[in-house]
Symmetry: C2
């Protein structure tokens, strides 16, 4: 066992993140522009909003993992701080899809280089002091939480598909 066990579990968690992103990519490729503009259910978030929301949440990982600046800083206001139908102008679906691939690919490149120790190091939203008390507040736990967040919205976006 020893560290081998930890390496194995990290690999499983990163594979689940990659797997949910693969499903997301397949879904946004399968859906037409018209479908993505629709609401996922009556009076619920549209596909385009959820697409932008997922990009914005993933893009925030660069800051949270101290990997550099956000690639699409404007998305925070439009897709996280504001609800859908806020009358804010959305980027086009082509732009959003391209942003999704850019962010996901750049994150994947960084994650490939992470050791288990990197994954278990603290993220930027927790102080050294709190992290000493709660070592679960690490980067891997953020990734696990984002995987579940993505799965949550994937279930909703699946409703756009006829």
């Amino acid at each position: 066992m020893e560290n081998q066990a930890a390496d194995l579990i990290v690999k499983m968690n990163v594979a689940m993140w990659d797997g949910q992103n693969k499903k997301f990519a397949e879904l946004i490729e399968k859906l037409t522009e018209e479908q993505l503009l629709n609401e996922t259910a009556p009076n619920r978030n549209t596909g385009i909003y959820l697409l932008g929301h997922i990009v914005a949440v993933s893009d925030d990982l660069f800051r949270l993992f101290d990997l550099g600046e956000k690639m699409f800083p404007d998305y925070l206001e439009i897709f996280i701080k504001s609800p859908d139908k806020s009358n804010k102008t959305f980027p086009s679906i082509e732009e959003l899809k391209s942003a999704y691939y850019t962010v996901t690919k750049k994150l994947a490149n960084q994650f490939e280089k992470y050791s288990t120790q990197d994954w278990l190091s603290k993220h930027e939203a927790v102080s050294e002091e709190d992290f000493a008390k709660e070592p679960t507040r690490n980067k891997l736990n953020v990734l696990i939480s984002r995987t579940v967040h993505l799965a949550n919205h994937l279930g909703q976006m699946a409703y756009l598909n006829n």
Copy 2:
């Protein structure tokens, strides 16, 4: 690091499973019977079907983890092998909620006793031979996958809430 790292990551994954179940329990308590009988979106699964589906999928873990017999074996046919609106008779919402709590609690009691080594041992649906080649086919990976599955349907069931 050593095994401590693996123990920590197991704890994070089990906490995420518990957390999604807590959200699920909160949602089914908040929703009225009438809301649970509704479709989550037009022509999509009803709340009651998804509730039964989640119970059936969790109940299947007893078999997969060699923890004994299914508690609600009939649910397999109704909520996994058959789609919603199959004309099969569903148990009442009260029965399904009670079944959900019974299964989830019994699983939690078993999971409390699991060591990291138990979590990383093979599940019942993989052969010794295949497991030797693919050590990620372990119990923890099943739990991670079931957590994401639950999150997926939670996103849909949230649409029942006004």
